[in-house]
Symmetry: C2
Amino acid sequence: MNKFSIAQEILQDLNYDGWLIICNEDSDIHSPFMLGVKAHARHYIYIAANGNHIVIGTPMENPMIKKSLEEQNVSCRIESYSSISDLKSKLGTVVDQKRIALNYGEILNTSQNTEYADCIHLGDYLSLKSITSKTEFFSAAPIIYKLRSIKSVSDLDDLRETCKITMEILNDIPDWVKISMTEREVKARLDYEYLKLGEPSFDTIVATGANSADPHHNSSQQKIKEGVLLIDTGMRVNQMCSDITWTYWIGGAPSEKFLKAYSALNESKENSLKYYIDGMQSNLPAIKCRESLANSGYDHEKLFFHGLGHSIGFQVHDVGPRISQNVSKDEILVENMVYSNEPGLYWENEWGIRIEDDVIIKKEKCERVTQAPKDPLLI
Amino acid sequence: MNKFSIAQEILQDLNYDGWLIICNEDSDIHSPFMLGVKAHARHYIYIAANGNHIVIGTPMENPMIKKSLEEQNVSCRIESYSSISDLKSKLGTVVDQKRIALNYGEILNTSQNTEYADCIHLGDYLSLKSITSKTEFFSAAPIIYKLRSIKSVSDLDDLRETCKITMEILNDIPDWVKISMTEREVKARLDYEYLKLGEPSFDTIVATGANSADPHHNSSQQKIKEGVLLIDTGMRVNQMCSDITWTYWIGGAPSEKFLKAYSALNESKENSLKYYIDGMQSNLPAIKCRESLANSGYDHEKLFFHGLGHSIGFQVHDVGPRISQNVSKDEILVENMVYSNEPGLYWENEWGIRIEDDVIIKKEKCERVTQAPKDPLLI
């Protein structure tokens, strides 16, 4: 069943007439997610509960959209607009007097975080309201949650393949990374490998020395020097992203402090992975990870200042509960969700270390789709 | 003068207390534009008319933001939030009872298109409204227009350098592109060159044969075959993007039809560039380009179905009037705006051709920062 058909069923359950996605210059990830192709010019995707799906786009990009939808066996009318007034008229006809789901959600005010759905821009919403006074709007958050948090069989196959390829690329790193290459050169080479088959799933972090103490470091022109080299990277081949962090040691012998931290982190990862299972509270793996780090003698509150894991999918930070000690115990992991497990320890102005694996939530124990080295790879 | 100081002056002119940028997962380009670094986690940037600028971000990313602002000599308080309620409280204190500019704009309903400012998500706006009942909100469009449409001296230096590097890379293409490489392989190699120094400014289009008839073709696994090879590409080194299209012929001798079209397009580009000057209506270059194509015997209404040019800057599609025959004659080009000139001719299911140069608008005649080959490069 293609995504349009799945969304159509959800719309029927929710008693909405349609789901409207507004996208301009890549502003809404749900456009490439649904279309299977990236359209950049302003376009509107209307998934209808009665199956009369419509895309309103530009003459320049419609042929590409049509081809992609045909490949997915999606039956959908595709219309061009020639001017803003033409667009308003066509859009008005589509949404008039209907019950329509729109991509908005909130983080600051709702009991449930629906931030993942928050894609429509305020100006687009105001424009839409002004041309359709009798249309009722609702948040598309429940549609998006169902469509994206639990992965399909084909998504999971895609994930396994993507992760396998990414690990092969990470295993090769000691063969070509050298001291005095810049962080950016390493990032560029990794991106090159990804782009031959797909694309990077996010901005790869290459962090040498003290830069590795900064979990979201932007790869810089700094030259790689002896010591810690942290690489947090991933790619997307088709529909699913990989997200993997390996921390290497480059040049000479690793310090005792590094080896001890690596081993403790690896242990905390293994201990917490036991709780990546269907029905589990999503705060528990993080609590168990931190217990493990405390047992190894680390002040995790100071040295490990981010969550343990996040949902992975079409986006590297996908829809679903976070895995963190701060998350409500009502947030539950469900079979066939996909998650990262990424404990870290960071000493500011010295160095940091992080190990990250991706897994599929299953009934008895999780399925591991990546495997960080048990001992640090030496370059 | 750094960007915070420029924005501060604009705020004083407009009699607003501050400009609030809300960014989460790269949702607002004005965050990296102002900070000089990409922060991914939810953060808030408040530029104050009185100079008391504040960033509210995460403990994980604040050190990186602090470092970048220090490098730009921006004086700014940086605060961390530890939870959503903490964030609400800190944010409420910052914006309470003030006159605040927010990043929203409209395309469908206003006489002036302020779509470029439309970045805030509806959910974020609703959240903000609910915690600050006595705050007045305004569109930040005039601030953004002033900050981004007309480029500074250092921006223009940066542009010249970026364009020079991009052209060197494009000139080298005949040395390494071969028949039967895939479009993606070519894209990956170009991205690799860019990533060593900066980053791609958009998804490079590599289009072989019939794919070149699709102006926004997504580079695919299709193998390059004899005939037309269209490459639309660009990079950003620091603050400015390049955006260049060259159409090559690969293998054997170019067809008569291709050579004639290339020559006519080049002529239409040269003719229209005379109108890329300060004070000119922005529809006129497009009208002149189409006159030139008509004089060469082409049905431009059918074969050339996109605008002639767009503003270029921190984003490849930047702020400023479009250059199109459909644009109101009230839209005017101004000195030190930066524009593309990209006429094309497309025969569906056969092939397409496009030549694109970037220029700086000047008083007497534009300054050319790129130069597409007068005759097509052969591979």
